[in-house]
């Protein structure tokens, strides 16, 4: 009966389904977007292996661009800061990295990507991911690539030679997937920097580094250490592990607000639409309900009939919305620069949870909107309704 009732007014049913679909699509897209960004930030932070990230003043966003968004960028400071950081109370270990950006055709035979030069003696960031892969240290003239870069440079296989900044490097392996921005980089030992400076136009001096990673002693307070560094060395900015991605979150804050506002408005609109349409439906069918009640239908029969109709509408609208929202997310992931560069994609489980949330939300709005007209209808006295004829 519910299906036949819905087919009575196809245009009205279509409008309601379309409104619900739009609302659910917006929800699925917003949830997918926010979840993906948050997961990427959390994963990067969890897997970083350092408590503090120390960069030249003003380069904080650049570091996050690399670690969270996989964006190739470079910034430099003097190597001497490493020794100054080491001396600060609470610091256990430090390791420096230097970031270089390759430019296709000009310096290098690989597509534009990040080259990370790191100190193998002090490193605790890259080494854990290459231990099983290489089983030894990188030699001068050797490089190991991030799991994503293997595809980027069409490597796929190891033992290939590529020109980087005028020097030829042997690609000796592919790193395990870290789930962070490091996956798209090419890693070399910092012993190569002098030669890169000599052989290329790279905008770097031999005594420069990009970032210092610091591990704290067990009992050290990260806030104290951070303020100690920033107060004593004004040329540096410090990012705590838990704050990585904060600037991205701030940037996304306004986008998220727009999402949420759109969601709230479309929810109110859908709720109003469902209420208005079901009020009209209830008014149209009062006589039929009166006849059914006179023939012995209980209040629960009336409620069940309308509830089923509402659920069918809600389910159709939600399913269309979930498909549209998921498709939108996938399309946007290709064109939205924020999404394109995020290291983490949504798992099937997360996608299922988001879809389920969309289904629950869509049908929930439908039930909520129809509640008042259905309640009114079930309480009508059959004779009054029948006599309206």
């Amino acid at each position: 009966m519910a299906f036949r009732n819905l087919r009575r007014r196809p245009l009205r049913t279509g409008i309601l389904v379309a409104a619900l679909s739009l609302m659910v699509a917006a929800l699925v897209f917003a949830l997918s977007f926010v979840t993906r960004v948050n997961s990427s930030i959390k994963l990067t932070s969890d897997r970083l292996g350092a408590d503090l990230l120390i960069v030249p003043t003003g380069a904080r966003g650049g570091a996050e661009d690399i670690l969270v968004e996989n964006r190739a960028t470079s910034f430099y400071m003097n190597k001497s800061f490493v020794d100054r950081i080491k001396k600060i109370e609470g610091i256990d270990k430090v390791s420096a990295q230097t970031y270089l950006v390759t430019l296709t055709g000009l310096c290098c035979s690989v597509p534009s990507s990040m080259v990370v030069a790191f100190n193998q003696e002090t490193d605790f960031i890259v080494s854990p991911w290459m231990k099983d892969k290489l089983g030894r240290k990188l030699r001068k003239g050797e490089a190991i690539v991030g799991s994503e870069s293997a595809f980027n440079i069409n490597l796929g296989l190891v033992e290939m030679e590529a020109k980087l900044f005028g020097s030829v490097f042997s690609m000796v392996g592919v790193l395990d997937k870290t789930g962070s921005g490091l996956d798209t980089a090419v890693f070399i030992s910092d012993e190569n920097i002098a030669e890169i400076v000599k052989n290329s136009d790279a905008d770097i001096k031999p005594d420069q580094i990009s970032v210092i990673f610091a591990k704290l002693k067990k009992d050290a307070d990260p806030y104290m250490v951070m303020s100690e560094i920033e107060n004593n060395i004004i040329e540096l900015d410090v990012v705590m592990r838990k704050d990585i991605g904060k600037s991205l979150i701030t940037t996304l804050g306004d986008i998220s607000k727009i999402f949420y506002l759109t969601m709230v408005l479309s929810t109110i609109l859908s709720l109003f639409l469902v209420w208005a349409i079901f009020t009209a439906i209830a008014n149209e069918r009062t006589r039929e309900v009166g006849i059914m009640r006179a023939l012995g239908a209980k209040e629960k029969h009336v409620v069940t009939l309308f509830l089923f109709e509402v659920l069918v509408l809600g389910a159709i609208g939600s399913i269309v919305g979930i498909v549209a929202g998921t498709s939108l997310t996938l399309i946007m992931a290709q064109s939205f620069s924020i999404l394109k560069n995020l290291p983490v994609d949504l798992t099937n489980f997360t996608r299922t949870v988001i879809a389920f949330a969309g289904l629950l939300f869509g049908t929930g709005i439908c039930v909520l909107g129809a509640l008042s007209p259905v309640q009114r209808l079930k309480k009508l006295e059959p004779l009054l309704v029948i006599k309206q004829e």
């Binding site: 006179a294 023939l295 059959p382 004779l383």
Partner: protein, 224 residues
């Protein structure tokens, strides 16, 4: 014990804040197997009285006992069960649901039964045969004439084997011949199955064919 005892019932409606008595202090006793006709002018309270006996509108005062049980003392669901299992309604207008076929309309009251009786489909076909509409079983009400719709509604009233049939101008849309056929059908059900009938009609010839004739006048019930 009478099957139905109507004890001093009154139904008052508020029309523009002024109370109007549609039915005034009506009392009657109906035995099982009675066939009662009620005549009267429009607005005299016939339909309201029938509806109160059928449990579809609550009296403002007074009692209606069906087989000794005050139906308005029952919970809402039990009143629905009373309507479903004991009463067969024929309304004064075409009362079929437009989205259901003739057969589905006939089966509708059986859906609301707390305990299915079985053989519903066969029974629907049998009743349709009795009202002469076998060939229309799978059509929708919109494809039927007013008289045919009325006959389907008559058949539907017998689907749950009611003890009491409340018929509100049941033959209003029918031609003379079909009206006669339907009246014979009612009499057969009354005599062979002991179904009690209360029939509201404007047709005095039809009223004369019943066992007992009553008249409603300005909300009061009088014996003719």
């Amino acid at each position: 014990m009478p099957q139905i005892i109507v004890e001093n019932i009154t139904k008052t409606y508020l029309v523009d804040t002024a109370p109007i008595d549609a039915v005034r202090s009506v009392s009657m006793r109906i035995e099982k197997g009675d066939f009662i006709s009620i005549v009267g002018h429009s607005g005299s309270g016939k339909t309201t009285l029938l509806s109160m006996i059928g449990g579809i509108t609550r009296p403002s005062s007074g009692k209606i006992l069906f087989e000794g049980e005050d139906i308005y003392e029952l919970a809402s669901d039990r009143v629905s069960e009373y309507r479903c299992e004991k009463i067969g309604f024929m309304f004064q207008f075409a009362s079929l649901l437009p989205i259901l076929t003739v057969k589905e309309n006939l089966l509708l009251p059986t859906v609301f039964r707390p305990r299915p009786a079985g053989r519903e489909a066969a029974k629907a076909e049998e009743l349709l045969h009795l009202v002469g509409l076998t060939e229309k079983i799978n059509v929708y009400p919109a494809q039927l004439s007013g008289g045919q719709q009325r006959r389907v509604a008559i058949a539907r009233a017998f689907m749950n084997d009611p003890a009491l049939v409340l018929a509100d101008e049941p033959t209003g849309d029918l031609d003379e011949e079909t009206e006669g056929d339907m009246m014979r059908f009612f009499k057969t059900m009354n005599e062979s199955k002991g179904v009690t009938f209360i029939m509201v009609t404007h047709n005095t010839d039809l009223a004369k064919q019943t066992k007992q004739h009553l008249r409603m006048n300005q909300g009061t019930l009088q014996t003719v």
